[in-house]
């Protein structure tokens, strides 16, 4: 059993590895499998994706190759008799421990990335450079609240805008809420996705690279009702100076947020009054 398995594997491994190595840069460069990535976190996610693709790709080619090889080689022949064996202890050990090692490797590889992206302790919430934006989702629209040029929420120059406008090269911290059902903010190019859950305020962050200045789309990735498919949002990334100018402009052009909770107000952010967030 073992020697034949070994020679079969040896015959397969070299060409498979070659194909995988040749194909990999092609995938990575042209975004053949993944869309363009515009953040360092996104790049790290992509690297992990390609590592997993390489490992699973080899396993895929190896196992499917063996399957097809066995199907052809061991097809029934007139008068042939199958080899009688009920198993092999060593083979079981090998094919339990080897995948276990690979799985452990993949598990360990991703700890750091996940921690950097998701752990509250690693988020740039205290970074003086960070831009904080409040995101409020409702059926079927995204609303964004900006602190305005004074960088403090709950003041006169706060404003609400239907588009996410952020600078490149600076961390952007999102405080996210939903007022009705679960929504999920998804920007494929940022490799960013986070559910917005009614009853919770969820913090998430991203940092777009300089040079990525253009318009992007925000998708809602969680079924939120019959018009879920229309919940398309827009995001614009600007160079820092342009963004600061735009921020001042929007703050001046938009009326201040009515935090008084008056029933006549159509301002959706009145449901997220200053008493429910700490002034920063």
């Amino acid at each position: 059993m073992i020697p034949i398995l070994k020679t079969t594997l040896r015959r397969l491994v070299a060409p498979l590895a070659l194909v995988a190595t040749l194909a990999m840069p092609a995938f990575a460069e042209h975004g053949f499998l993944l869309p363009e990535s515009i953040s360092d976190n996104g790049d790290k996610i992509d690297q992990l994706f390609y590592v997993i693709l390489a490992v699973t790709g080899l396993v895929f080619l190896g196992t499917e190759g063996l399957l097809i090889y066995f199907i052809i080689k061991y097809r029934a022949r007139e008068g042939g008799k199958a080899h009688y064996t009920t198993g092999n202890h060593r083979a079981e050990l090998i094919w339990t421990i080897t995948p276990a090692a690979f799985l452990l490797l993949i598990a360990v590889l991703q700890f750091g990335i996940w921690q950097d992206i998701k752990f509250p302790s690693r988020m740039p919430t205290d970074d003086p450079d960070a831009v904080e934006v409040h995101v409020l989702a409702q059926q079927f629209a995204w609303k964004f609240r900006y602190a305005g040029p004074d960088r403090v929420f709950g003041t006169e120059d706060d404003y609400t805008y239907g588009k996410l406008v952020v600078p490149s090269g600076r961390p952007v911290v999102l405080q996210m809420r939903s007022v009705d059902v679960i929504h999920s903010l998804f920007v494929p190019e940022l490799r960013f996705k986070q559910d917005l859950v009614p009853g919770l305020t969820i913090t998430a962050w991203f940092q777009a690279r300089e040079g990525s200045e253009r318009d992007y789309e925000i998708a809602c990735a969680e079924l939120c009702g019959a018009s879920h498919y229309t919940m398309r949002g827009e995001m614009e990334i600007l160079a820092n100076e342009d963004w600061e100018a735009r921020d001042r402009e929007l703050s001046a052009a938009n009326a201040p947020i009515d935090y008084a909770l008056s029933d006549s107000s159509t301002e959706i952010f009145r449901f997220w009054p200053p008493s429910e967030f700490s002034a920063n």
């Binding site: 008799k81 993949i106 990335i113 992206i117």
Partner: protein, 602 residues
């Protein structure tokens, strides 16, 4: 523990083959496990048609948004979301689980352990009727105002609580009743397997099908009550004004409708936890994925051994790996919730558990390959389906590793990548195993052989078009195509969809055309199934020259199953033993020479 006693159980003093039963007691309120199995089979196949039709509706909408769907007409967004929700619900609760557990469990367990019937035949009958009631609830939702639930088969609140109409209520009742059916079946299988095995049938002489049903039943028994109570809480939130999953401060039409601020105007107290539902739901629904694949693994193991004419490679490791899947299956539910707002620290522990649940599946794949190694592979129709199960399960298993990786999951969560993954596991693997099993046991069930040419046609067309449908889903998924959207690429005429998907619209069209072909590819199967029942060639008791006990019965097996007492002398996989003249040794023949068997039944 005695087959003769077992044979007496459940039908008292009925004589074999001489007793005339009324139509109702024979076909409707039967307590015979084989008839109940057939009830599950035909109901399941009928509903499979419905689930398939709904899938074509969903695919049609994605390829040609808001155009005329053949027969039905133009979809509204509500139609689309109802089709999507009901496709998944029907396929999971009314087709896959009932076919695997209700049909195969019922059909195989008593026959394969040498029992005359299930230990609780009347509970068995009730299990079918509970299932049928559940199906009626699901189907009734198509008739009520507002139509079926459009909240997805996951029914996440608050959406599922806030949705108008009776659709979600009927969905909940349907889940509750099919859940009862599952629990009743599970109790019956566990007790039957532990108590009614023929003399000599030790636990480690049971075919892997029986092991898989035993393990699945334990899983069902432990997990289903959680789903039942969760759905009941959701139901109460909808009809009784409770707030298990309704938080404070929900806003509708510009007003706060839940929580202390809203009291007085409405009866909603609020204060519930939205994420709690997801935890409870996936505590069942993740194990449910294993309920949907473990019996398929058992079936495939048996079929591979029979047609490779070899003992299963690593019989005990196969059992241990199924047990490991079951154990780990209870601690991985959080991997559905990595992006849900669940504590990210918790995400890491679920990730590690999820990585390791891939291990027993890998071990099974290697053992199946080991079973084929140096075999004599006969390409009968059931074998073709079983081999394709192995090939497709590898794809479905490996794609799971991408989603188990928490950072990668950020990008591919809730995209078509996960849709591809679930369909490779549940359609390309499990449904293929169901086909394998129907073809494999067909001659025993109906006493006639199916048409092999049609069977092969069915196999090749299905294999081709299922890959045409599901393979591209990986691709659009990694490009960021969200699941559950009614319009993919930006469509100027309806002002919806995403511009970043415009380059991939061709893939949606290809998938839809392929899905329609996949539907038509089932025609040879349906024709074969019914035609061969009356016109197929008559066949002997053991056409596949297999070892397990079901082939020792007269064909088709009568009420009470076995012609006389049976005893078991060896394991189920003694194929091609060098000391034997024949390449198989039925479990019930003492000296292992199958010729003796022919004398018994002639």
């Amino acid at each position: 523990m005695n087959a003769a006693a077992a044979a007496d159980h459940g039908h008292g003093d009925h004589g074999h083959g001489h007793h005339e039963e009324s139509f109702a007691s024979k076909y409707l309120f039967s307590v015979d496990h084989k008839m109940i199995a057939k009830q599950f089979l035909f109901t399941g196949i009928l509903l499979f048609l419905l689930g398939g039709a709904l899938a074509v509706g969903v695919r049609w909408q994605l390829a040609w948004p808001f155009s005329n769907v053949p027969i039905f007409g133009k979809f509204s967004p509500e139609n689309y979301y109802a089709s999507m929700t009901m496709h998944a619900s029907v396929m999971i609760f009314l087709v896959i689980i009932p076919l695997l557990v209700g049909f195969f469990g019922n059909w195989c367990v008593p026959l394969m352990i040498g029992a005359g019937d299930m230990v609780f035949p009347r509970l068995n009958m009730w299990s079918y009727w509970m299932f049928l009631s559940g199906a009626v609830f699901f189907l009734a939702s198509f008739l009520v105002e507002g139509g079926p639930s459009g909240g997805g088969w996951t029914s996440y609140p608050p959406l599922a609580v806030l949705q108008q109409g009776q659709g979600v209520n009927l969905w909940g009742l349907g889940v509750l009743f099919t859940g009862f059916s599952g629990i009743m079946g599970a109790v019956n299988y566990i007790t039957t397997i532990l108590k009614l095995r023929a003399p000599g049938m030790t636990l480690f002489r049971m075919p892997l099908v029986v092991w898989s049903i035993l393990i699945t039943s334990i899983l069902t028994l432990l997990a289903t009550p959680v789903l039942g109570s969760t759905v009941l809480m959701l139901f109460l939130d909808r009809v009784a004004g409770t707030s298990f999953f309704v938080p404070d401060g929900l806003v509708a039409a510009g007003k706060v409708i839940t929580g202390p601020a809203a009291m007085g105007e409405t009866a909603r107290a609020g204060g519930g936890q939205v994420l709690m539902f997801q935890h409870l739901f996936w505590f069942y629904s993740h194990p449910a994925v294993y309920i949907m694949v473990l019996p398929a693994m058992g079936i495939v193991s048996d079929i591979l051994a029979t047609f490779a004419r070899k003992p299963i490679f690593g019989y005990k490791p196969m059992i241990y790996s199924m047990s490991a899947i079951t154990g780990l299956g209870f601690v991985v539910w959080g991997h559905h919730m990595f992006q849900s707002g669940m504590n990210p620290y918790l995400g890491l522990s679920f990730m590690v558990a999820t990585m390791f649940i891939a291990l027993p599946s890998a071990v099974k794949v290697f053992n199946w390959l080991g079973t084929l190694w140096r075999g004599q592979i006969h390409f009968e129709v059931p074998m073709l389906f079983a081999l394709s199960f192995v090939g497709m399960f590898i794809i479905g298993g490996l794609s799971g590793i991408f989603m188990a990786a928490t950072p990668v999951d950020i990008h591919i969560h809730d995209t078509y990548f996960i849709v591809a993954h679930i369909h490779y596991v549940v359609f390309a693997s499990t449904v293929m195993a169901i086909f394998a099993a129907i073809y494999y046991w067909y001659p025993k069930m109906f006493g006639r052989m199916f048409n092999k040419g049609l069977g092969k046609l069915h196999f090749w067309l299905t294999l081709l078009f299922l890959n045409g449908t599901f393979m591209l889903m990986h691709y659009v998924g990694t490009q960021g195509h969200p699941r559950r959207i009614a319009v993919g690429a930006w469509d100027e005429s309806v002002k919806a969809g995403y511009k970043y998907l415009q380059d991939f619209h061709w893939a949606n069209v290809v998938m839809t055309v392929s899905a329609i072909c996949l539907g038509f590819a089932q025609l040879p199967f349906f024709f074969n199934l019914f035609w061969s029942m009356y016109r197929g060639k008559k066949c002997g008791d053991n056409p596949w020259r297999a070892n397990s006990l079901e082939w020792a019965t007269p064909t088709p097996p009568p009420h009470g199953n076995f012609a006389g007492p049976v005893a078991v002398y060896r394991g189920p996989y003694e194929y091609s033993h060098p000391d034997m003249k024949e390449d198989y040794a039925p479990q019930h023949i003492e000296d292992g020479t199958p010729v003796v068997q022919a004398q018994i039944h002639s």
